[in-house]
Amino acid sequence: MTTAGSETKNDITPPLWLLAELTYKCPLQCPYCSNPVEIAKYQNELSTKDWVRVMQQARKMGATQLGFSGGEPLVRQDLEELIQEARHLGYYTNLITSGVGMDEERVKRFKDAGLDHIQISFQASNEELNNFIGGTKSFQHKKEMARIVKEYEYPMVLNIVIHRKNIDQIRDILEMTVELNADYVELASTQYYGWSRINVDQLLPTREQLANAEKIAKEYQEKMKGRSKIIYVIPDYFENRPKPCMNGWGAIFLTIAPDGTALPCHEAGQLPIEFPNVRDFSIPEIWNDSPGFNHFRGFEWMVEPCRSCPEKTKDFGGCRCQAFMLTGDARNADPVCDKSPHHKSLIDDVERINELAVDEAAKKVEEKPLIFRNMKNSKSYLEEV
């Protein structure tokens, strides 16, 4: 879709979603973090001026949603300034945060700056597990921040990443979101990229756990209708068709990593593709002309079974990063699809982890320790590679 006078070229739709990963610094160490395992490499963060330029250019192209994310975006001292500029430009501004580094004074300043929405993550519904998973004492503070967010009349999304260690507490988690008056609840099944891929043996839930969790989530969706919207999607490893990842490559999503690398999604940095940097190119140049953003646009790049598949216009062959991680070639069909020749080996792996989980629960085998997301573990990972 193009409009006269717009900045977007024919056949390329404008970016609607700008995800600003302001920093990879984070006081939490969640072992399922979606950031790249290589976080220690990203030292050279963009300046305030760089971010303002990026926001202006993307807005002019048509972006309406802006997510301030990280790492922990609260670490950036210029966050208030960036929010104010974003709101002035007409973005709907979302702050995606752990709540650590926030206090009432700062929430008030965000309100004055025009922030539209705050999403707070919880790791679990009880102090012990929450603090263990996050690797910090943060549970009570998060609850306090959730109360303040509501007090300042923000729409509040509570995001809880769901995995084998907390899925059996899903009822308690939902009760907590009711108590905190969440407007939206995202029960985000762990997606296995980055850190969570390294920890997949310890994080993937069993089929039995999933069935139980789904039942309870449905019960609360019914019960909370009109008061709170609860979103629960099962991990795609248990599906037969892939997700229409990012609604298509370079179709609506634009992620900017802390060092200015522009990506079609926040996982794409792992692909053997060169991506442009906002220090070298403007957003229209990046979006319209860069080889990286054009790499998987359209259908020409596809191989079988996607190429001749009638469903390709619906799911675009699934996720390029998942195809790359699980088959070694990003052009292949996402192995979640049961038409993929690699589907069986994914199912076998899920089965292996299922058995491992059962053996661990029965104490037949010792649990492998989780690898936490921090700079130290990132550095040792980089040395190994």
């Binding site: 409009t3 309406t64 709907y92 929405h117």
Partner: protein
């Protein structure tokens, strides 16, 4: 629906014109709904000061039509249902 009510956009949502989309949109946490041109004409008149009766009268005059009331009410019901609108107290 009580036509004496004065609707306002609920705090979670924002309605604005988008040049690139060439339409009014409703924005909310991490999402956007594009409005049809008639829906846009209704939503742009929602300001927390104008009653439903007044909005309908204004639309009738602007578009020189006496037959749009049912459609306006139907759309407003959807907008209230979606949580986009609430009544100004």
């Amino acid at each position: 629906m009580d036509k004496n009510n004065t609707p306002e956009v609920a705090p979670t949502f924002r309605v604005q014109w988008e040049d690139v989309q060439n339409c009014y949109v409703v924005l909310y946490p991490e999402g956007m709904v594009k409005l049809s041109s008639s829906a846009g004409q209704i939503m742009k008149r929602v300001n927390g000061e104008t009653t439903i009766t007044e909005i309908i009268a204004d639309l009738k005059e602007t578009f020189s039509s006496n037959e749009l009331e049912d459609d306006v009410i139907k759309f407003l019901e959807v907008a209230y249902d979606n949580g986009w609108l609430r009544n100004k107290k």
